[in-house]
C-alpha cells in the first residue's frame, strides 16, 4: 500500500486512520485485561484457600519499596499524559522532554524491582529447596508467631511458596510489559526528536500512551493484592 504523507494507503482520511489505531489499541488492551485476568483468577482461588500463607508471604515483602514504586509509576503516567498533551498542542520539544522523563521513570521502576528481586534471593524466598520462612521472624515473638501460623496451616511452607510463585509470576509479567513499554517509548523519543509528532499526527504517542497507562493500572491492582495483605500482623 502506498503512503501519502502520514496517511497509509488502506485508509481514506487521517481521521479514519486515527480512529482505527485507537480502537485497535483498546481492543488489544482488552485482551491484556483477560491475559492478566487468568493470573488474577489463579491468585483469587489460591488466596481464598490459603489466607494465612498469603498474609505471611505478603509480610515478607518490602512495603516501602512497593509504595515508592507505585508513586514512580503514577508519576510516569502523568509525564506520559503530558507528552500526549504536548503533541496535541504542537509543543514539539516538550513531547521529547516528557517522553524522556517517562522512560527514566520506567527505568527507575524496573531498577527498584530488580533490588526487590535480589532481596528475595538473599532472604531465601525463591521457591524451591532453599525456601526458608524463618527470615522474617526476629526474636522469640516472631518465632512464636510463625509457630502459630504453622499450627493454623501445617502446609505453610508449601503454601507461602505458592504466594511467592504468584508474586514472581505476576510482577515478572508486569515487568516484561514495562520493558516492552520502555522499548516503545524509546522508539517514540527517536521519532519525536525528528519532529514527527504534531497537532495533526500524534497517533503513535497516543496509543503507546494508552499501553503505558494500562501497565500502570495493572500495577495499581498488583500493589494492594501483593503488598498489603494483613499488614497489621507485623
Amino acid at each position: 500500500m502506498h503512503r501519502t504523507g502520514d496517511l497509509f494507503g488502506q485508509y481514506q482520511t487521517l481521521e479514519q486512520q486515527k480512529d482505527s489505531a485507537t480502537l485497535g489499541m483498546w481492543l488489544f488492551l482488552v485482551t491484556e485485561v483477560l491475559f492478566f485476568g487468568g493470573m488474577f483468577l489463579t491468585y483469587t482461588i489460591n488466596r481464598s484457600t490459603y489466607p494465612i500463607a498469603f498474609a505471611w508471604g505478603s509480610n515478607t515483602l518490602d512495603i516501602t519499596l512497593g509504595t515508592v514504586n507505585t508513586a514512580v509509576l503514577i508519576l510516569s503516567s502523568l509525564t506520559m499524559a503530558m507528552a500526549v498533551w504536548s503533541a496535541q498542542t504542537d509543543k514539539k520539544r516538550l513531547v521529547t522532554g516528557f517522553l524522556i522523563a517517562t522512560l527514566i521513570l520506567g527505568c527507575v521502576f524496573l531498577g527498584i524491582k530488580f533490588v526487590e528481586y535480589s532481596q528475595k534471593y538473599e532472604h531465601h524466598l525463591i521457591p524451591g529447596h532453599n525456601f526458608d520462612l524463618s527470615y522474617h521472624t526476629e526474636g522469640p515473638e516472631g518465632a512464636a508467631k510463625l509457630q502459630e501460623a504453622f499450627r493454623q496451616d501445617p502446609g505453610l511452607t508449601a503454601h507461602t511458596q505458592l504466594y511467592v510463585s504468584l508474586y514472581f509470576a505476576m510482577t515478572g509479567l508486569h515487568a516484561l510489559h514495562m520493558i516492552v513499554g520502555a522499548g516503545l517509548v524509546f522508539w517514540l523519543i527517536l521519532q519525536s526528536m525528528k519532529g514527527r509528532f504534531s497537532r495533526s499526527y500524534n497517533t503513535p504517542v497516543e496509543i503507546i500512551g494508552l499501553y503505558w497507562h494500562f501497565v500502570d493500572i495493572v500495577w495499581i491492582f498488583l500493589y494492594p493484592l501483593l503488598y498489603l495483605i494483613d499488614r497489621h500482623l507485623k
Binding site: 500500500m1 494507503g9 488502506q10 485508509y11 481492543l27 485482551t31 485476568g37 521457591p127 504468584l166 514472581f168
Partner: protein, 547 residues
C-alpha cells in the same frame, strides 16, 4: 482474466514473504494450514488403523498417546482455528465491505509470521520426543508427570495465540472503520457478521489460554505449584482456565463456517436469506453466551452441584441461536431456485451434520446423561460432527465457492460433486458408530479396548479410509485447476456480494474505484447487473406474495 491482478502484480519470493496484501497473506495461510491439516490427517489415519484390533494393530501405547495428542493439537490450534478466519476471512472481509485492505496490513502479515513461529515450536515438540498429554494439557499430567516435549508445545501454542488475537483485533477494527460508503451494518454479508463474532472470541478468550499454558510451562520449568496438588495447587483450576477459552474456541471454529453457509445458501437458492437479522444476532448471541458455559466440560470433576446446574442451564441456552440459524437456512430453501452446484452440496451436508452434532451436544449438556457419556467415544463423535462435519464442510464449501475469485479459474464440477458426496458418506460411516461405542462405555484415548467393541471400531476405520479419499480429491483437482481450470469471469454463479463486483482474480487494491453500496444484501430482484430474470419464476410465485 484481467491482465494484471494481485497474483502477478509483483514477482519473486520476497514479494510474497513481505507482502501486506490481505489476499496474498490469505494464500500464505492456506499453504501452512494445508500442511497442518495433512499432518493431522496422517496422525488420524494411523489412529484409525491402530484401532482395527482390540489389542491395537500398529503402534505402542506411548506412540498411540502421542498420535492422538498431536492429531488434536495440529487440528485444533493450527488447522481449525485459523482455517476459515485466516484464509477466507482474510481474503474476503476487506472485499466484502469495499475496502482496499484490512485496517492494519503489516500486523496482518505479522500474525502469519507469529503463526508460523508457533507452528515451528510445535513441530519441534512433535519431532523431538512427541507430545502425549492430550490436546487438553490437563495438569498435573502435563505439568509434572509427562516425559514428552510439553514445554516447546505449550510455548508454540502460546505464541500462536497472539496470531489469533491480532487477527481478531484487525478484523474488528476493519469491520468498524473500513466499510465503504453505503455499506451499513445491516447490509453486511452474514459472513462478515460471523467473523465479527469470531473475532470477539479471539479477543476475549485467546489471552486466557495463552496465560494458562504459560503458567503450565512455567510450572514445568520452575516447579511453581499453581496446579500441583502436592504443593497445594489445584488441578481443577487449570481446567477452569483452559475451558474458559477452549469452549468458546469451539465457536471460533464453527461460527466462520456458519458464515460461509449463510453466503452459499442464498446464492444457490437465488433468493434473500430468511431472517437476516436473526442470523446476524444469533452469531453475536453464540459468541456471548458461549463464554458462560465452559464448566459443562467438568461435570464429573467433583464440581459443586449448584454450579453444575447453572452451567448446564446456560449450555442449553446456547443451543437456541444455533437452532435459529439452522431453521432460517432451511427456510431459505423454500421457494428458491436451487442449483446443485458443489458449494450447495457442502452447505446442505453441513446442515445435516451440524444438526446431528448440535443435537448430540444437548446430550452432553444434560447432567444426568453426562455422567455416563462424559469422556467416552460419544464425545469424540459429537465434536467431530461439529468440527469435521461442520467446520471442515463449511471450509471446503467456502473454498469451492470462492475458488474462482481466488484463482480466477473454476474447479472441475463433476469431480467436485463426487468428492462432496464421498466426504458426506465417509464421514457418517466414520463417526456415527462412535456414538454407539460411547454409549456402550468405550472411554476415549484408549490404545486398546475390550473385544466386544471391535465391530464398531472396524466400521469407523473403514469410513475413515473413504473420508481420506474425499479429502485427497479436492487437494488434487484444486491444484490441477490453478493451471488448467476453465476461466471463471468476475461472477460465475452469479452472487450478490461486493467481492463479485471486481475482477477474478482481483487487482491488488481490490476495486478500481471505491465502491458505493446502494443495494440490499442478497437481493436478486433489483440487480440487473447479474444478468438474471428480474421477477421470480412463474411456477414459484403464481400470485405475487411478499412479507
Amino acid at each position: 482474466m484481467p491482465r494484471v491482478h494481485y497474483l502477478n502484480a509483483t514477482y519473486g519470493i520476497r514479494s510474497w514473504l513481505l507482502t501486506t496484501d490481505h489476499k496474498r497473506i490469505a494464500l500464505l495461510y492456506l499453504a501452512v494450514v494445508t500442511f497442518f491439516f495433512t499432518l493431522g490427517g496422517i496422525f488420524a489415519a494411523m489412529i484409525r488403523i491402530h484401532l482395527l484390533t482390540p489389542e491395537g494393530a500398529l503402534v505402542s501405547p506411548e506412540t498411540y498417546n502421542k498420535l492422538f495428542t498431536m492429531h488434536g493439537v495440529a487440528m485444533v490450534f493450527f488447522f481449525l482455528i485459523p482455517s476459515i478466519p485466516a484464509i477466507l476471512g482474510n481474503f474476503l472481509i476487506p472485499m466484502m465491505i469495499g475496502a482496499k485492505d484490512v485496517a492494519f496490513p503489516k500486523l496482518n502479515l505479522m500474525s502469519w509470521y507469529i503463526y508460523v513461529l508457533g507452528g515451528c515450536f510445535v513441530l519441534y515438540s512433535f519431532f523431538t520426543g512427541g507430545l502425549d498429554t492430550g490436546w487438553t494439557f490437563y495438569t498435573p499430567l502435563s505439568s509434572i508427570y509427562s516425559n514428552s516435549a510439553v514445554t516447546p508445545a505449550v510455548i508454540g501454542i502460546f505464541i500462536n495465540g497472539f496470531s489469533s488475537i491480532l487477527t481478531g483485533v484487525n478484523f474488528v477494527v476493519t469491520i468498524h472503520t473500513m466499510r465503504a460508503p453505503g455499506m451499513t451494518w445491516f447490509r453486511l454479508p452474514l459472513f462478515v457478521w460471523s467473523h465479527y463474532a469470531t473475532s470477539l472470541i479471539f479477543i476475549l478468550g485467546t489471552p486466557v489460554i495463552a496465560i494458562t499454558l504459560l503458567l503450565c510451562g512455567v510450572e514445568r520449568i520452575f516447579h511453581f505449584g499453581f496446579f500441583n496438588p502436592a504443593m497445594g495447587g489445584d488441578p481443577i483450576l487449570f481446567q477452569h482456565l483452559f475451558w474458559f477459552y477452549s469452549h468458546p474456541a469451539v465457536y471460533i471454529m464453527i461460527l466462520p463456517a456458519m458464515g460461509v453457509i449463510s453466503e452459499i445458501i442464498p446464492t444457490f437458492a437465488r433468493r434473500p436469506i430468511f431472517g437476516y437479522s436473526f442470523i446476524a444476532a444469533s452469531s453475536i448471541g453464540i459468541a456471548v453466551i458461549g463464554f458462560l458455559v465452559w464448566a459443562h466440560h467438568m461435570f464429573v470433576t467433583g464440581q459443586a452441584t449448584y454450579s453444575a446446574l447453572a452451567f448446564s442451564f446456560l449450555s442449553y441456552l446456547v443451543a437456541i441461536p444455533s437452532a435459529v440459524k439452522v431453521f432460517n437456512w432451511t427456510a431459505t430453501l423454500y421457494k428458491g431456485s436451487i442449483s446443485y452446484d458443489t458449494p450447495m452440496l457442502y452447505a446442505l451436508g453441513f446442515i445435516g451434520l451440524f444438526t446431528i452434532g448440535g443435537l448430540t451436544g444437548l446430550f452432553l449438556a444434560c447432567l444426568g446423561l453426562d455422567i455416563h457419556i462424559h469422556d467416552t467415544y460419544f464425545v469424540i463423535a459429537h465434536f467431530h460432527y461439529i468440527m469435521v462435519g461442520g467446520a471442515i464442510m463449511g471450509y471446503l464449501g467456502g473454498l469451492h465457492f470462492w475458488w474462482p475469485k481466488i484463482t480466477g479459474r473454476l474447479y472441475p464440477e463433476f469431480l467436485a460433486r463426487i468428492a462432496a458426496i464421498v466426504l458426506f458418506l465417509g464421514f457418517n460411516l466414520t463417526f456415527f458408530p462412535q456414538f454407539i461405542l460411547g454409549y456402550l462405555g468405550m472411554p476415549r484415548r484408549y490404545h486398546n479396548y475390550p473385544p466386544e467393541f471391535q465391530v464398531l471400531n472396524v466400521l469407523s476405520s473403514a469410513g475413515a479410509s473413504i473420508l481420506a479419499i474425499g479429502y485427497l480429491l479436492p487437494m488434487i483437482y484444486f491444484v490441477w485447476s490453478m493451471r488448467y481450470g476453465q476461466v471463471a469471469g468476475p461472477n460465475p454463479w452469479p452472487a450478490t456480494g461486493l467481492e463479485w463486483r471486481t475482477a477474478s482474480p482481483p487487482p491488488t487494491e481490490n476495486f478500481e474505484h471505491t465502491p458505493v453500496v446502494d443495494w440490499e444484501t442478497y437481493d436478486f430482484v433489483n440487480r440487473p447487473d447479474l444478468g438474471l430474470a428480474t421477477k421470480p419464476a412463474p411456477h414459484l410465485a403464481p400470485s405475487h406474495e411478499d412479507d
